[in-house]
Symmetry: C2
Subunit: 358 residues, 2 copies
């Protein structure tokens, strides 16, 4: 089996940074995710990344993830044991050895949790995920569009409770897993969406981990060479810079297990005199400039510290922070009718149609 990369503890820095850029404000604290993965790699050894085409068609691939509001995850540092519990329980339930681990989403914690399982099991990690970004609900994956069932799914908490779900739709999996996660204290660990190699080759969004690593490398190189890190990211990703400003108002609340809220900005430099607003539900979903909706999900809205270019998560938003907002094109799978039904602005309650700005 050919490995694209072998990830050592120090390589997690770039991947966590890149995941947080693609994570569009969600997916949890990248620092926590990085620490978890680094600890696991130091203890169990490096993680090998493979291209999905390396998998046999009858191979068994299983994504793992954390569920919950990022604000809660940060307070309840998850243990590798819980992740591996969910993974091993699902393997036992399926009655077949799992051949590779997969990411559910790109985002602070969830682009790194699969590294924990890969390190602990010695299994390769597939270069890809189910979103090419982060999203707040578990049915919001390209896997759903390819008919992959989220169940059987195993959900574990930090107390030793576990659930096996078997549902009639991935939307029902989300509802029941969300209710359990809230009851469990706001975060839980999942193994789900088991699929064959043949299905994975069609159903995943490819190359996400390589892209995460490259984003991290780009930022690091720009900083060490004293170039503008924001400009380097814009170049690397074909992004558009849509605002530069300071947070003047931030409103957040945890609703039904989600971190929802709104951040309002006042412009600086070229955007002085302009207003800007970001609406989020774990992730940034809608960007409004001068009272006009500019970018919506599924296109990516990501926010960087103006000086360092480091990505900022929704729960790190604070009054007075000076930030740059970027829009990035989404993976074309999301632009299909099925994709828009799953993650378009109307699903989240915004009365607008998706229109790509790219």
């Amino acid at each position: 089996m050919k490995f694209l990369r072998t990830i050592k503890a120090e390589d997690m820095e770039d991947i966590a940074t890149g995941g947080a850029v693609l994570g569009t404000g969600g997916g949890g604290d990248p620092y926590i995710g990085k620490l978890m993965a680094q600890q696991a790699i130091k203890r169990y050894g490096p993680v090998n990344i493979i291209d999905v085409d390396e998998l046999a068609d009858d191979a068994l691939v299983v994504p793992v993830a954390m569920m919950g509001a990022p604000t809660v995850m940060t307070e309840k540092l998850p243990q590798g044991e819980e992740l591996i519990n969910a993974f091993r329980q699902l393997e036992q339930l399926l009655g077949k050895k799992i051949d590779a681990v997969l990411c559910g989403e790109a985002g602070g914690v969830n682009s790194t949790t699969p590294f924990v399982v890969a390190a602990m099991t010695g299994l390769p990690l597939v270069d890809g995920d189910g979103m090419g970004r982060a999203y707040p609900e578990l049915q919001m994956v390209s896997f759903s569009m390819h008919g992959v069932s989220a169940t059987p799914m195993v959900l574990c908490d930090d107390k030793g409770n576990s659930l096996v779900l078997d549902t009639v739709s991935n939307a029902w999996t989300e509802r029941l897993a969300r209710a359990a996660t809230v009851e469990m204290g706001g975060s839980a660990l999942l193994a789900f969406y088991s699929m064959s190699g043949a299905v994975a080759k069609k159903a995943i969004i490819r190359g996400t981990l390589t892209l995460c690593a490259e984003i991290g490398e780009t930022l690091r190189a720009a900083k060490s060479e004293h170039r503008d890190p924001v400009a380097a990211i814009v170049d690397k990703l074909g992004a558009q810079q849509i605002f530069h400003g300071r947070i003047k108002d931030i409103d957040r609340r945890t609703v039904g297990g989600f971190a929802r809220g709104t951040a309002k900005f006042e412009g600086v430099e070229e955007w002085r005199g302009h207003s800007f607003q970001l609406d989020f539900q774990n992730e940034f979903l809608v960007a409004t400039r001068d009272d006009e909706i500019l970018v919506t999900t599924p296109d990516l809205i990501t926010v960087l510290e103006a000086e360092s270019g480091m990505p900022v998560t929704t729960d790190a938003l604070r009054y007075g922070l000076r930030l740059v907002a970027l829009a990035l094109p989404c993976n074309p799978q999301w632009q299909s009718d099925a994709g828009i039904a799953l993650v378009g602005p109307r699903y989240f309650g915004y009365p607008v149609d998706y229109k790509s700005m790219f």
Copy 2:
């Protein structure tokens, strides 16, 4: 194997009535429960009741029940298929043939749902339950006091979703199952508390189904012989009549999957000029007369129509109804420290100690 009784469809009438008397206002609509059991018995054959001592020590006994607010259960008539799904899934999970079915509680629906499973499977039904009455939360069973785990538990809904729970305590099972039940629309079907024959002989409250049948027979006989049905029940159960009055105010709300509320009465006949109040959470938990707490859980508070002696559930309480309230002594298991911790008035938030009025 010696059968105590063989229950045909027409025998369910008495059992459902008796279950509703012991159900202390909860456990769902006895009419619905009776219909479900009668349909199953007509289709699959009669149900044999056995004494728990008939079971081998290594026999496998599994209780089945519905979970949810009775007000919801009444609107969503459960199908036998969902109950048998939960039962069969648990059997498969345990990897051992189940030898007998057991009631979780005595109450409108839950003293009859096990008849559905017994009829469909041809398995005997054990004469007993886990409460000797009804209670709103699933850890509130004598089984808990004997160290029986509620999990592995299978929970099914009417849509085809199912959960397998494996928890660190029966209180956690309640929390997670309740959250799932609420999300599933307010009612779900359970198979849980699997136990050996040896454990069942110690852990169950014995004779509940026989008592249900006898209560129903007592009421029916009194009516056909034009005797006072309320007096007949008082004699049969060693009950105390604690009030006779009309409902003048009823306040109910569904909170966290429970039907909670308060019913206020004004006295008639010998109780004219006196006031009376019942507090309930699915079941009647506290009776207050003339502003003094008179009866609390775990003693049973049951309410009968003054004329017919028929039991009245909490969700059938209506302005103007003329009712008689009775207090019945609870099973002695509930009077232990462990029993009071599980179901005493303080658990439900009433700032009083349990004091038996018997």
